[in-house]
């Protein structure tokens, strides 16, 4: 350990510096503080040269600097792309690192930022108190800030705390300003901030990984920026809207193309990298919800963007219109973009630069010119309004088309629009289902179903099925339906559904604002009409021909980034800080030995967010799942931030800006015994050291080891200072998924990108609707069973109970570590976790039971024996009618049969101890972790029990492999098992249960 300490410390430093750099960058952007590069360099150098403790003193908050050096600030740096700055700082740092340490560090540094925290502590500085550590962190932060602001280090010392505060305030102010502009902004920005925070602690330290991102805007220009790798969709979307100066943004969204060239809406509540699997990140900014009455939009600029979208739609043929309409709309376009017709200026050629229709003829152009002349004196805004008044009446306005087949295999199109679902065959509308008529929307594999309220004279609801090209398309359609229904029909978004245990369906819900809400918000917009330039639609229409594409410099984004990015930078630190805090807390607990303090711990300064988190946890316990995840993570992120703040402001209160939480407060409030942030006990250091050692010992450890408070509370002996911890990451190694979510409840685990089924029962809050859902339940249950069976389970059981106590402990520790690791991954490594665990613990018992039951499929068999149950065939009868014609005539004409084949195979190893049965024992902890990848969803249940002094850790993984024919399931299964083994090399696989459900109708689909 000692030997390694050195390197690690270095690593830590490096990472910190890197982190600091990142922070700086962000800060710069965020604060808009302008320092020139020069100053930056100097500062960074200084920072490097100065020992960490010293640095701490130097710290000067950005705000201060801002105030002090505002004039200086506006320099070249503004125009320097962040990455440039980054590099710079990197280079500076590196030399230092080298001097201090070596290559090993480099390698680890990248991977182990998180772990570094503990390492830091473990370092030679072990003696240093926590305060020191904090100060270090602060220093780093400060350094960064200094760099930015070019403030001298000397003056800042005393002001450290103040600085922090001011910084916080500053951020807050910025936010407020923006909020003023838009009420909504506040929340959104907060979100973004959270998101960033969330990520930062994990990865920012490592590599500050950013991903170049390009968004094609409606005017044909391109907006590019670098996004943190783990950024959520909202971050990007907000950036783009900021860039566009767009406030009524709920009508818009970002599209990306998936592997199969299908366009998908970026879910703003999810990480981008989870949604778009390929690089580079390319998006188009588009109208997502077409306002039925554009005249009700508040701002001209919003109408302008809608016009641009419609011009695209029309020119591309997506929005068909007649010759006359093409000409009329084209003439309004000319009026808006060129102004009054000028016979001199507007010769015959000016018009052919524009594209008004997919197939534009001279005749049409003549007509356009003719009409253009009649629009004299219309202002651009008026011309846009006229344009929209005509465009909105087009029958395909706002209709989102999806290819499908009806029950007879006939090609049809499903159109989702404001009023409901339209069914087209070729260009003809053959049926229509208003939202009011739809009781439930669901999909299963590649089938999409709607359950329709009985018609006037009918008695029974009917379910209508459509076949989509693949299950992704089905899910896409389902999501779009859910979103449209919510947006246009509900007053406020629906709560995500309560998840029942083992529900595999998607919990996706539209999380944005509804039309009603956005209209309300729009009414509050109180800003002078923003100036904007109407770019010529020539570019739009001809951009494919290589028209010049404007590239937006990042500097344009500064305003925005000030609000969001800045805090994110802090996050980086937060990560470390959190880690430390946690450790401390853990210690405190040890001392106390009472886990009961959890609630207190969670009361950080930002009580709100914490409360939220708690709430969500509770929810999760009860089975809420979908939003849970995001809520949880986000709140965690906040906490992390709070921690960050803490670093900077040792013991003072911070302003209540949402971004800034007082770590200090956290710590102090959390536990009296738990030493305040500033003082650390030796014991804690010891612990840290131990941890460090372990980490080093372990190869390929990516995640940080965290001490589990609960564990300590219960097993004090184990928790002793000398205890070793193993770090393992469950999710990281997870095959295809780099990301893993820790879900707080077992039920939430099923949420994934690729879930097989999804259900959505529109709750019509609109006054008119009354919903009766009688047989719903039964059906649901049925369906769920079906999907539940489609699971590939692999169970790993480890029984190390027979080993010596020490090992024993290890096992326990390991499990805990895993837990933590996961949490860390998700950026949730913080105090909150304690609460989580507690809650979980309660859950555990339930889960355990359920799990036991859940394995019902499993059959205890002789090892290596494959037990194949006869494939039961589930026949689902479904009335499929896609055509109004048919419907009126026959209500149950076609009864397509969906056949599914279910197969269960159980492999069991001889060592199997029957532990799966959930033998009596004391349950120590249990948890569920979910990770997703392209085609698999992995749910990991970890349960630890103590039986007669022997502890046993049992990990049960449930891997759902979904996909179309193109997925090799056997391979996927093999891969999953392999990975499981790799992840837990010291554990043995005791049982594998394969559950295969195939839809016979569809080959290869499983």
């Amino acid at each position: 350990m000692t030997t390694e300490v050195g390197p690690e410390t270095e690593v830590k430093k490096e990472s910190e510096q890197l982190g600091a750099d990142a922070v700086n960058e962000k800060r710069e952007e965020a604060t808009e503080s302008q320092e020139n590069q020069k100053s930056e360099k100097t500062l960074s150098e200084e920072a490097q040269s100065t020992p960490s403790p010293e640095l701490a003193t130097q710290s000067s908050p950005s705000s201060q600097k801002k105030e002090k050096d505002p004039p200086e600030g506006k320099g070249i740096s503004r125009f320097i792309p962040p990455w440039l700055k980054k590099q710079k700082s990197y280079s500076l740092v590196e030399p230092k690192d080298e001097a201090k340490k070596k290559p090993v560090e480099e390698r680890q540094a990248a991977e182990e930022r998180e772990s570094q925290l503990p390492e830091d502590i473990a370092q030679p500085k072990g003696n240093l108190e926590e305060a020191t550590i904090e100060s270090q962190q602060e220093t780093k932060k400060n350094d960064k800030e200094e760099e930015k602001h070019s403030v001298s280090s000397a003056d800042t010392q005393p002001a450290k705390e103040d600085n922090k505060e001011s910084e916080a305030e500053k951020v807050a102010n910025e936010q407020e300003e923006q909020q003023k502009v838009e009420e909504k902004r506040e929340t959104k920005e907060v979100q973004t901030a959270e998101i960033k925070l969330e990520k930062a602690p994990q990865k920012a330290l490592k590599k500050i990984k950013t991903v170049p991102c390009k968004v094609m805007l409606l005017d044909g220009t391109e907006y590019s920026c670098d996004l943190e790798k783990r950024a959520k969709g909202q971050v990007l979307f907000d950036k783009v809207c900021e860039q566009l100066n767009l406030l009524e943004k709920d009508y818009f969204g970002l599209l990306f193309q998936d592997n199969s060239d299908q366009k998908n809406w970026l879910d703003s509540s999810k990480e981008i990298k989870r949604q778009i699997r390929s690089l580079p990140w390319l998006f188009t900014f588009n109208v997502k919800f077409y306002p039925p009455d554009p005249s009700q939009l508040t701002e001209d600029i919003t109408r302008y963007f809608l016009c641009l979208q419609l011009r695209q739609d029309i020119a591309s043929g997506r929005l068909p219109c007649s010759f006359v309409t093409h000409a009329l709309l084209g003439s309004y376009t000319l009026q808006a973009e060129l102004g009054d017709y000028d016979s001199e200026e507007h010769n015959n050629h000016y018009i052919s630069e524009f594209q008004f229709a997919p197939n534009q003829t001279k005749e049409m152009e003549d007509k356009v010119v003719e009409l253009h002349k009649t629009h004299r004196s219309l202002t651009p805004a008026q011309a846009d309004s006229h344009f929209l008044e005509n465009a909105k009446r087009l029958s395909m306005y706002g209709v989102d088309l999806h290819h499908a087949k009806d029950s007879e295999g006939v090609d049809i199109m499903l159109g989702v629009c404001a009023n409901g679902l339209l069914i087209y065959k070729d260009r003809l509308r053959i049926n229509r289902f208003a939202w009011a008529k739809i009781l439930k929307i669901s999909y299963k594999r590649s089938n999409f179903y709607i359950k329709v309220r009985p018609a006037e004279l009918e008695q029974f609801e009917s379910t209508i099925g459509f076949k989509l090209p693949n299950h992704r398309a089905a899910k896409r359609l389902w999501k779009v339906c859910v979103e449209h229904h919510t947006f246009y029909r509900l007053v406020s978004p629906e709560q995500p559904p309560k998840a029942k245990f083992l529900t595999l369906g998607s919990k996706f819900r539209y999380s944005g604002r509804t039309q009603a809400q956005t209209q309300q918000a729009s009414n509050l917009i109180d800003r002078p009409a923003p100036y904007f330039e109407r770019t010529s639609s020539k570019r739009v229409s001809r951009s494919l021909d290589g028209a010049p594409v404007g590239i937006t410099d990042q500097s344009l984004l500064r305003d925005f980034s000030a609000a969001t990015v800045g805090p994110a930078g802090d996050i980086v630190f937060a990560g470390e800080a959190v880690g430390q805090t946690k450790l401390k807390n853990g210690e405190g607990r040890d001392v106390n030995g009472s886990p009961t303090k959890i609630p207190q711990l969670e009361l950080t300064q930002d009580e709100k967010s914490l409360e939220e988190e708690i709430t969500s946890i509770l929810f999760s316990k009860e089975g809420f799942s979908t939003s849970m995840k995001s809520t949880f993570t986000s709140s965690t992120a906040r906490t992390a931030e709070g921690t960050v703040v803490k670093d900077n402001v040792p013991s003072e209160m911070l302003s209540a800006s949402p971004f800034l939480q007082l770590p200090e407060k956290l710590a102090s409030r959390a536990e009296g015994p738990c030493t305040a942030a500033s003082d650390a006990d030796k014991s804690s250091h010891e612990t840290l050291n131990i941890v460090e050692e372990k980490q080093q010992a372990e190869v390929g450890i990516e995640e940080t080891v965290v001490i589990d408070e609960i564990n300590r509370g219960k097993m004090q002996a184990v928790t002793g200072a000398g205890e070793t911890r193993k770090v393992e990451h469950l999710s990281k190694k997870d095959s295809s998924s780099l990301s893993s979510d820790s879900s707080s409840s077992s039920s939430s685990s099923s949420e994934s990108e690729d879930e097989v089924v999804g259900e959505y029962q529109p709750h019509h809050r609109a006054a008119e609707d009354i919903i009766r859902e009688e047989q719903e339940e039964n059906e649901d249950a049925k369906r769920k069973e079906e999907c539940a069976t489609k699971v590939i389970q692999s169970v790993e059981t480890v029984q190390e109970g027979s080993k010596v106590t020490v090992e024993h402990t290890q096992v326990t520790a390991k499990a805990l570590a895993q837990e933590n690791a996961v949490a860390i991954k998700t950026g949730e490594k913080n105090v909150m976790e304690e609460g989580k665990q507690d809650l979980r613990a309660e859950d555990e018992e339930e889960q355990l039971k359920i799990n036991g039951d859940g394995s019902h499929v499993d059959i205890d068999v002789v090892p290596q024996i494959i037990c194949c149950s006869e494939p039961p065939v589930v026949k689902t009868e479904m009335v499929t009618i896609s055509d109004a014609t048919q419907r009126t005539e026959i209500s149950t004409k076609e009864v397509p049969i969906v056949q599914t084949e279910t197969k269960t195979i159980t492999y069991e190893s001889p060592q199997f101890d029957g532990s799966s049965g959930g033998d009596a024992g004391v349950l120590l902890s249990a948890q569920t972790i979910t990770s997703e990848s392209v085609s698999t969803t992995t749910t990991t249940h970890i349960t630890k029990t103590v039986k007669g002094g022997v502890s046993e850790t049992r990990i049960e993984k449930r891997i759902v492999i979904t996909g179309d024919a193109d997925i090799d399931h056997d391979q996927a299964l093999a891969q999953a098992i392999k990975e499981a083994k790799e992840q837990h090399p010291d554990m043995s696989v005791t049982r594998v249960v394969v559950h295969k459900e195939t839809e016979l109708a569809e080959e290869g689909e499983e």
């Binding site: 068909p320 219109c321 007649s322 029958s395 003809l428 509308r429 018609a455 109004a884 014609t885 009126t888």
Partner: protein, 294 residues
Amino acid sequence: MAGLSSSSSGGGGGGGWSLGRCSHAVVRALPESLRQHALRIEKGQEVDFARAEREHQLYVAVLKSKLGLQVLELPADESLPDCVFVEDVAVVCEETALITRPGAPSRRKEVDAMKKALESLNLNIIEMTDENATLDGGDVLFTGREFFVGLSKRTNQRGAEILADTFKDYAVSTVPVYDSLHLKSFCSMAGPNLIAIGSTEAAQKTLKTMQQMSDHRYDKLTVPDDAAANCIYLNIPGKGHVLLHRAPEEYPESAKVFEKLKDHMLIPITNTEMEKVDGLLTCRSVLINKTSEL
């Protein structure tokens, strides 16, 4: 379709964004051959040709004199017994005219004269040349907001598709027609947003289908007699809402329903002879609204 018989022709589209606007009308004289050879669903009474001519002259007179429309009168063609029913051979909406491909082969040549007439009005002419497509104008109901196309013995899916391609601005929904010759054999527009509908089960069912398919909410005017539900609504500057409906002598109960429309100028039209060969009011004219003079 079992029966053969004449279909009628008549004015199809409404004008512009506002239903019923109308400046021109195309009509055609009836040939003597109508009496013997016009297609009809079921054999019935013989047509009194002289009386039929009188009725038609009255009809044209109403359009021309009473309503002040510019009426193009095409001469009869003895080789085309059903040529008086011009509605079936053209669908006009705004400045665009779709020359149809009538479902009855014997009527295909009727389009030639119509095409010339519409060309003379400088409309954008689209011809339905696809040999798999058939469409009778009598199956096309334009509500001012959208089209409904009855899929009948005379009109098929392909024909409807072409109509949809022609009038791209509008939704085109298809509805099945079971017991009648045409969609408009039992319904028509009686005002903006007002659908006149017969009271037979088939008619009511079709109306429900149309209501389900539409994003708009239409009012309905139910009349006891299906045939009486075929009326002509016009919106003539200076005259306001005008409704040509079947005379009380023919359908007294239905006439009473129309008479409740207080806002409309009601003009009863007698149509006894033409109805014998399945001709209704809308069948005998194509109504056009020319906004810009060329």
